[in-house]
Each structure stands twice: as C-alpha cells, then as structure tokens.
Symmetry: C2
Subunit: 257 residues, 2 copies
C-alpha cells in the first residue's frame, strides 16, 4: 500500500522534543498532550511543505480554489473519491453555509487531526498522546459504526487506493516545567488484523487501542480488510445485542411480570 | 416520602452566591462548576450541622466508630439497609484494605456527592452545575443498570424507606472574574415518572436529564416506582438490542455473505 508520510522519519524528529507544560495545572488526558499534536503538525509541515493540512484547513483550501463550485452538490464533486468525501466533508447544512468570509473552523469530531495530500491520495493522520507516568485506558480511535460505513462505501465504489489512515502515538513524561517526548509509535489502520479490533459499545461504540500495542500483521488488500472488518463488526454487534438481553433484560424479568 | 434536606431553603441560600472563576482558563463542563459543588456542601453543613458528609467521609466516619468491625463482612453489617449498603459501600478489596491510617479518598464514580444522614435515613444528594450561557446536553445522572440493580435490591428486601436520592442544579453565569449562581433547581428521583427517563445507551448507559426540566408528578410509593422503573429499563434494553440489529447488523449483511 502506498503512502505519503514516512513515520519512522517523523518518529525520529519527534523523539526528544519538549513542549512547555500546559498552564491549566492538571496533566490529565487530552489537554496535557495537545501541544504535541501541534508539534507533530509543525514537523510534518517542515518535512512535507505545502501538502500538510488540518482537516478543516484542507476543506477551506479546496473550496477557496473552486469558488465556482456553489452549494453542497458542486462542492462534493470536487472529491474524486466517494470514500474520501465521506471521511472529510462536513454536513450538508454546514457545507451550504460555507463562504470565504465564514470558512470552517476546527471541529472536535473531525475524522483526522492532520492530512497529507499528494496526487489525489489522502493520508489521514490521528495523533494520540500518552503520559508514561499514568496507566491509561486505550484511547478512542474511531467510531466502529463510522468505520463500518467507511468499509461499505469502499466496497460499493471499489475505492481502495485513494486514502489511508495512520495513528501516531507520542509518549511523554513531565520533566521540570516541560513535557518531553521519550518515544513515538506508528500504526496503519489497514495493517491491523480487523478481527482483533476492540469495540467499546458503551463508550460511543469506539474502537479503542494503544498504538504501540497494535498488531500490524495484516497483509491483505483494502478490499479484504473492508470485508473482514464488516464481518467482525456484524458479529460484535450481534454479540452485544445478545449480551444486552442476557445482562439487562433476563435478570429483571421476574420483577416485571 | 420523608426527607432530611429542605431544598427550597437550600436554593434560597445558594441563589446569588458567587465563587471565583477557576484558574484553568476554560469554562467547559465539569471543572467550571466544581466550586459550586463545594459551596453547596458548605451551605448544607451550616444548615444541618453534624449530619452532612461527602460519601467517602461518611464511610470513614462509620468505620472509625466501629473499629471492632474487621473485614468486609463485619463492615457491611454496619448498614441496616441492604439498599443503602449497595449504594454507598466500596468494593470488597477496597473495604478490606481500609484502615484508620489509610482511609477512603473521594472517588469519581461514587453514587452521591453529598449525604445527609439522620435516624438511619440517608438523603443522597448529587449536585449538577450548568453554565447558563451555553446550550448543554443533559448531564449524566446515574447508570441505568445501577438503578435497575438498586430497584431489584429494594424489591428483594422490601427496603423502600431507608433512603432517597435528590438532584440539585446550580445555574451560573460568568460575571467579571466570578461565577454567579442565578437560579437553583431541585428534583427528587422518586417523584419522576420512571417511564419518562431517557437512557443514553452509547454514553455508558447513563440516565440523562436537566434537573430543571424534570417531571415531578409521580405520586406512587417506592415499591411502585421500583417496579415501573424495571419495566421501563427492560423495555428500553430490548428496544436498544433490536435497534442494534436493525442499525449495525442488517444493513451490512450483504457485504458479509
């Protein structure tokens, strides 16, 4: 599978990097690691000048270059790949409201933190940060349902070679008033055996894993990955529905008559 | 239904109260309203001296007064009500590890923020805070599953009069460098028609509502409430299981062969 970003090179550039400790005081979860997300973005912009964007920046860039594409239908046609369209575009109303003077801003549930775009190929990159001094639950990776819709779109359109999705983990530790990156890890979503993905149904159906603990052994094509993921998702959803009956219905039936 | 705390009196005492703006900078969610949780606790301690506790404080208080109750079984017997035991106690291991020199500390998933305890009756109180300048989703109230287990325990033990659960909402607005409480609302869980409770299955199965928008029309006894809640919970769980099949299984079967 082709790709744009060399993640070994990126890991080399990021290892040893330090950022100022956030002023908020706590070093919990999201807020603490955020400066590293920005730092990774800067490094990528240095390494791949002109082709690295935040997701919203890319949409603003694309729509500004095609001001003649008015309205959501015309704007959607600016994407060659229906799958990339599904992954990157905003909702219908938001897209209709877009204008040069009121462009998109960053949105928390955008699919990717960062995009690298070259020759109509999209490398979606999500940055995960991890405090090495805390034992943390695996982070949310992507909605398992969104991923199922993605796979269905790929299969419906035989659209397997227009994008890929990578996760990049920055492991840091507090050192004085700085957070220092001690190690960095990378995983490509489509190299993970889909049947090993853990879906946390009670946590917004999110796929969850630590990037550095990820299987990377899947050697099949995108088409196979999509089919195997859907098989896994359907099986998990069925099992969860049955679990709900066993756990939340059956034990309480005697009180309900 | 009897109760300890007069929530109209409490609302009067809290309305107009101001607390310093948190230093963290953002005014989002939990962190911003937290000083009001502490303020409500202080007011209750003034109004009901000697009988108001944080949940973990009550456990420490109880276990310190009964040092002869060694181990989890003996400690559990300090509770007359099996339902109150279910609601307030920590896990088996944590309870076995408890000692005067290593007492319990506050835990995020304790059932109640505050307890008022009188004549072996327990008033569990949860404080919810709301920024009036933001449109927010209804907050997490309690796990719908924990509530089902609670109702089953009540029915199994015919234990309906040893406790009640109240929610107290503090509505605030930023004014200069202070957060000012503009209004306060109260709802008793067992006055809400249980069949109206919204369960967000994807958000850790939490019951969610805004305290000030809550129905308070239920006039039945605890026994009726518990039965009607269980009927509602079982129905909702069945519907959710069926929804999962319709939404996450059926549409994808054609890809799975």
């Amino acid at each position: 599978m082709k790709n744009i970003v060399d993640f070994n090179l990126l890991a080399k550039a990021v290892r040893g990097l330090s950022v100022p400790r956030p002023t908020s005081g706590t070093l919990s979860g999201h807020a603490a690691g955020e400066p590293f997300d920005k730092a990774v973005y800067s490094k990528l912009q240095e390494q791949y000048p002109g082709i690295v964007f935040r997701q919203y920046e890319y949409l603003n860039f694309l729509y500004r270059r095609h001001l003649n594409a008015v309205g959501v239908e015309a704007k959607n046609k600016l994407f060659d790949s229906p799958t990339v369209l599904f992954l990157l575009s905003r909702g219908k109303d938001a897209t209709n409201r877009w204008s040069v003077s009121s462009p998109f801003e960053e949105k928390q549930n955008d699919t990717a933190d960062i995009l690298a775009v070259q020759d109509n190929f999209f490398n979606l990159i999500d940055v995960k940060t991890r405090n090495l001094d805390k034992k943390a639950q695996p982070p949310n990776i992507i909605s398992s349902y969104k991923l199922a819709q993605l796979c269905a779109t790929m299969l419906d359109n035989e659209d397997f070679n227009s994008f890929t999705i990578d996760y990049f983990e920055v492991d840091w530790r507090l050192a004085g008033n700085d957070l220092v990156c001690e190690s960095a890890h990378h995983a490509n979503l489509f190299r993970i055996d889909p049947s090993t993905l853990y879906i946390n149904w009670a946590a917004a159906m999110q796929v969850q894993f630590h990037v550095d603990e990820c299987d990377q052994s899947f050697a099949g094509q995108g088409c196979q990955w999509a089919k195997e993921y859907l098989r896994h998702f359907v099986k998990q959803a069925k099992e969860r529905a049955q679990y709900m009956i066993n756990q939340f219905v059956t034990p309480f039936l005697k009180y309900v008559d």
